[in-house]
């Protein structure tokens, strides 16, 4: 049933007549219509609901607000109605309104900036302390682990090695191969200008072995295993699996945390080694095609100019990066709260933070090693 609004102005009396069904679908049209009425000479307003067949609660709120609005403009407003159902709806809304009005407490917003920033700093500091606590627990459990070979959970470590190393070989190999190709291709163009073709070997050798292969591997692993750790452990926390483990006396640190960290620390150097091979291989192909350096010549030159220490520096970064990625990923998983949004948030944070930590760690390595003259 359609609803209608008609109004009738007689001297200083205005009567607004609603008819049909007044529901939340029709309110907006009426609001617009009412705004077009000029009230200047009106002092008495009647909201006539006699012909109203149905009123829903949203429309009742609208009517009561209308009444209030007109009253504050010092027009006398009355609602005219005999229909009991309509009246009871209006009554219900009025009653709720008085309840909610009495419940509202106005918060003092002044001086909140200082308070909220102190709370934020406090929270940040607390988060830092929690991470340190996690760090301490990891170290303690690790020590316990090393006390006896029987404590080591070989099965879990092997499982994690398969998950985060063997299954990652393909993507790590492909990424580093492409990086090798791109670097060689870009530098080939520059080197050709100077006729310094053969120096591509020095450049590729040092940059890939020392920096690029470890970094690319770390970034791929952070995206792949770091996020997986957070999501897995976070989901286990939400389903109370972690609580169940604790009540059964299985320490999550020995069962979940340490095996993952150790597995990743073993996996990372191996993956970096594969990334080294594939990166150099990619560069070699481009040098052959683009610069006409034969594979034999490339490898000969490689052995001559690229010192083995560059290779070891790249490899030695592996366990450090792995420790950072695994511990940040797992820590983020453990602090997941009891809602699904928190998993997404912490997974994002774990990847971003672990990549950041890896780059900071790499920078520290760079500074330390350069100063040591290695």
């Amino acid at each position: 049933m359609a609803s209608n609004l008609t109004y009738n102005l007689q001297g200083d009396k205005l009567s607004i007549k609603f008819s049909g069904e007044l529901t939340l679908y029709t309110i907006t049209t009426f609001q617009k219509q009412l705004q077009t009425i000029s009230f200047k000479e009106v002092s008495l307003i009647a909201l006539d609901l006699h012909e109203l067949a149905y009123l829903d609660t949203a429309a009742a709120i609208f009517l009561i607000k209308l009444e209030e609005e007109y009253n504050t403009k010092s027009k006398k407003t009355r609602i005219l109605c005999f229909n009991e159902k309509v009246l009871s709806t209006l009554e219900l809304v009025k009653m709720q309104k008085t309840i909610t009005n009495s419940e509202i407490k106005i918060n003092d917003t002044k001086g909140l900036f200082l308070k909220s920033s102190i709370i934020k700093i406090n929270k940040f500091f607390y988060g830092f302390l929690l991470f340190m606590e996690f760090f301490g627990k990891v170290s303690m459990t690790q020590l316990d682990y090393l006390k006896s070979l029987n404590n080591i959970r070989y099965k879990e470590i092997a499982f994690e090695l398969n998950e985060s190393a063997i299954k990652a070989i393909g993507i790590v190999a492909l990424t580093s191969f492409l990086i090798g190709v791109v670097i060689a291709y870009q530098s080939a163009y520059q080197l050709k200008l100077y006729g310094a073709n053969i120096f591509i070997v020095d450049m590729l050798g040092i940059s890939i072995l020392r920096e690029l292969a470890p970094l690319i591997t770390a970034i791929v692993i952070a995206g792949r295993s770091g996020s997986a750790f957070t999501a897995q452990i976070g989901a286990m926390k939400i389903t109370q699996e972690l609580d169940a483990m604790k009540t059964m006396g299985f320490d999550p640190f020995t069962f979940l945390v340490i095996p993952r960290i150790i597995a990743l620390m073993i996996a990372m150097p191996l993956l970096i080694f594969i990334a080294d091979i594939m990166g150099i291989f990619g560069g070699m192909i481009v040098s052959h095609i683009d610069l006409g350096i034969s594979y034999e010549l490339f490898l000969d030159r490689f052995r001559e100019v690229v010192d083995v220490r560059h290779f070891f520096i790249g490899i030695i970064k592996g366990p450090f990066f792995a420790f950072l990625i695994a511990s940040i990923g797992i820590y983020r998983g453990l602090i997941v709260k009891n809602d699904t949004q928190s998993i997404g948030l912490n997974t994002t944070k774990s990847v971003v933070e672990s990549i950041f930590a890896v780059i900071v760690c790499d920078a520290l390595f760079s500074i330390a090693l350069t100063n040591l003259g290695i």
Binding site: T239, Q240, E241, D243, A244, K246, T247, G249
Partner: protein, 241 residues
């Protein structure tokens, strides 16, 4: 003889006070219920009993071991003496049902695999699961089955104490009554002491020997259900009317 005694427990999260001096005693061999309106801290109290959460002040003694400042060794031995069933079962999702039940046996005992298999089969039958279900993973079974499997896992080490967090919530009425009957049967057969948090009135009347009702941060009533009307708490009046 009281097997668990809770003395003057205070719990506070940040600024929110949950418990303000709780006292209760749970006797050996009884099925004890912790009841109260939602948000009153029933589950929190249960979590404090099973060492998942720390209380701010007071003390809980379980099997003659005091939980405040408990040593690692004592805590580990307590954990082998109780079984806990969580609200949604909390089965390890990477393990099948039988592996879930076998896990504590594999970790804590030097039993042979054949022996462990026998024990697992027995527990699966005991809780009323079919032996054909044992190879399924938690994601493949229904909520009721998860609870039964969780119960079988909690019973794997033959604990003296069983903690149940809302055992019948989310079950259909028939499964819920079956579960109640199962708890009663297990208590009589194995001589368990059962502590449970529940909202289910039928289950409360059918199974519980004694109850503690937490309301407004304190124990509003402790005792048998027949005398519950003597309590003056508003919650009790509405809940048991």
């Amino acid at each position: 003889m009281s097997i668990i005694s809770v003395r003057d427990i205070h719990t506070q999260f940040d600024e929110k006070i949950v418990h303000k001096g709780l006292n209760l005693d749970i006797n050996e061999g009884e099925i004890y219920g912790i009841l109260g309106p939602s948000g009153c801290g029933k589950t929190t109290l249960l979590r404090e009993m099973v060492l998942l959460q720390e209380f701010t002040h007071g003390n809980i003694t379980i099997l003659d071991k005091s939980l405040s400042n408990i040593s690692q060794v004592n805590a580990q031995s307590l954990r082998r003496d109780w079984g806990v069933l969580f609200q949604a079962g909390a089965l390890f999702s990477s393990l099948s049902i039988e592996e879930n039940i076998a896990l504590p046996l594999v970790e804590y005992t030097d039993l042979s695999l054949a022996m462990i298999n026998e024990i697992v089969k027995f527990k699966i039958n005991l809780v009323g699961l079919k032996s054909t279900d044992s190879k399924l993973y938690p994601s493949q079974i229904s909520g009721g089955m998860k609870k039964k499997a969780g119960l079988a896992r909690a019973l794997a080490m033959d604990p003296k104490l069983l903690f149940l967090d809302e055992p019948t919530s989310g079950l259909d009425p028939i499964s819920a009554r079956e579960f109640d009957a199962l708890i009663l049967k297990l208590r009589d057969m194995l001589g368990l002491t059962v502590v449970m948090v529940s909202h289910d009135l039928r289950s409360i009347y059918d199974t519980l020997d004694r109850v503690a009702i937490i309301d407004e941060m304190k124990i509003a009533y402790e005792g048998t259900l027949s005398d519950v009307a003597t309590s003056s708490s508003d919650f009790v009046k509405i809940f048991f009317k």
